[in-house]
């Protein structure tokens, strides 16, 4: 697996959407218009702790499912790859979302559309925080 930044609409698809332009991290108009989860990064508080927030989208509403304090991925890497941070069920269906801490310090977010097709992205906290997309 390699990770790529979101492709532009012209590179991957025609059209696009406006709903991704609300400061969410997964904001590719080519890849995220129908995303079952929306990811925001809340800035650090007085203690310098920010939060990676994952909202589930389904049944016509969105709901905060997982909130990960930044110290989770800023401390030393986990002892094993793919350490589950937290899991939840996306509203409006029976699909789940899981956030995993990877050995390289990234957070793998595995979710699924209502029909079970996977939606997988990676949060990279290094430098300017961003979402990466898996490619092979």
């Amino acid at each position: 697996m390699i990770l790529l930044q979101g492709a532009t609409p012209s590179a991957l698809a025609q059209g696009g959407c406006l709903n991704v332009r609300d400061s969410r991290l997964n904001n590719s108009t080519a890849l995220d218009c129908g995303a079952p989860v929306v990811v925001y990064l809340q800035p650090g508080n007085d203690l310098g702790i920010g939060y990676l927030e994952i909202y589930g989208v389904g049944g016509g509403k969105s709901q905060l499912l997982i909130s990960i304090p930044s110290i989770t991925y800023e401390i030393a890497p986990p002892a094993r790859d793919r350490t589950l941070i937290e899991g939840a069920v996306i509203p409006g269906g029976n699909q789940s979302v899981g956030a995993y801490l990877m050995l390289d310090g990234t957070v793998l977010i595995e979710a699924a559309y209502q029909d079970g097709k996977p939606y997988v992205i990676v949060f990279d906290p290094d430098g300017s925080p961003r979402i990466l997309y898996i490619a092979f």
Partner: protein, 270 residues
């Protein structure tokens, strides 16, 4: 029509273990490729499917004209019941059939990895194995002694203790097998005692080719099933009481990866 035999490799184990369940081929794609070979060429091989949380193990056999893609179901009871996904449907019990690609037919088997030896009968080598504690070691030692480079392998005989795995959850985020086949989040483990077995697989002695068909340091990838019970999977280790071995030397190695035009696979727009 070519007379040359070949190891057809669709995608690679290395890419599969990195989570690539996207660059798939269908049975129809493979059968179309097999049409380039003489009808009577035997085929043997290994693979898996992109059915999420139900990947299973593919055991390829038959001939270029009439191939069989046996699939050991990780969700069956007992684990590893074998059906031919060319014409049989997985039981509706267990995990629903879902593939990660938006444009794949979820109901048919799509293969994110398959290594298929299309063998010239004239190149067949035969020998027997008797009282071997480790089937893989016995096969590798003999093939190395015979200067075999790339080959298809078939083993039939009476095995003692056999350990198998059936992959059921190859995660899109990748899978680390550096410590071997461990982790019940990804594999179903089975143990069998004395029975008649059929094993089929592929062999590449050159380390640079290991990641194509297996993992580093493992030149032999072997799947198999119990001849009577029709269950099995990926053979991790096997004791052999007595077995007949057929090894077909292969002329060419052909690597095919379908649908590489786009880096990131399409996601849903709405």
């Amino acid at each position: 029509m070519t007379q040359r035999s070949a190891l057809m490799i669709y995608n690679t184990v290395d890419r599969l273990l990195r989570g690539d369940l996207f660059h798939t081929v269908t049975t129809a794609d493979v059968i179309e490729d097999l049409a380039a070979f003489p009808d009577d060429y035997p085929i043997v091989g290994v693979g898996t499917t992109s059915w999420m949380r139900r990947n299973g193990e593919i055991i390829a056999e038959g001939t270029a004209r009439v191939p069989k893609f046996l699939w050991a179901d990780p969700e069956s009871q007992p684990v590893g019941q074998v059906i031919d996904v060319c014409w049989q449907r997985p039981t509706p019990n267990g995990q629903a059939l879902v593939t990660p690609r938006l444009d794949d037919n979820d109901q048919e088997a799509n293969f994110p990895f398959m290594a298929l030896a299309v063998c010239n009968p004239a190149t067949a080598l035969h020998w027997q194995i008797t009282d071997a504690e480790n089937l893989h070691e016995a096969l590798i030692a003999e093939m190395t002694a015979r200067n075999v480079g790339v080959a298809g392998v078939e083993v039939r005989g009476t095995f003692g203790n056999v350990d198998t795995t059936d992959a059921y959850n190859v995660p899109l985020g990748g899978l680390d097998l550096s410590k071997g086949y461990v982790g019940d989040q990804h594999f179903r483990f089975s143990h069998y005692e004395s029975a008649e077995w059929v094993g089929r697989g592929v062999f590449t002695i050159n380390p640079s080719l290991h990641p194509f068909i297996s993992v580093a340091g493992h030149p032999l990838h072997l799947h198999g099933y119990r001849a009577e019970a029709k269950d099995g999977g990926h053979i991790v280790r096997a004791q052999v009481m007595t077995a007949e071995v057929t090894v077909w030397l292969l002329d060419d190695l052909i690597l095919r990866i379908h649908d590489v035009a786009h880096a990131v696979m399409p996601m849903k727009a709405v």
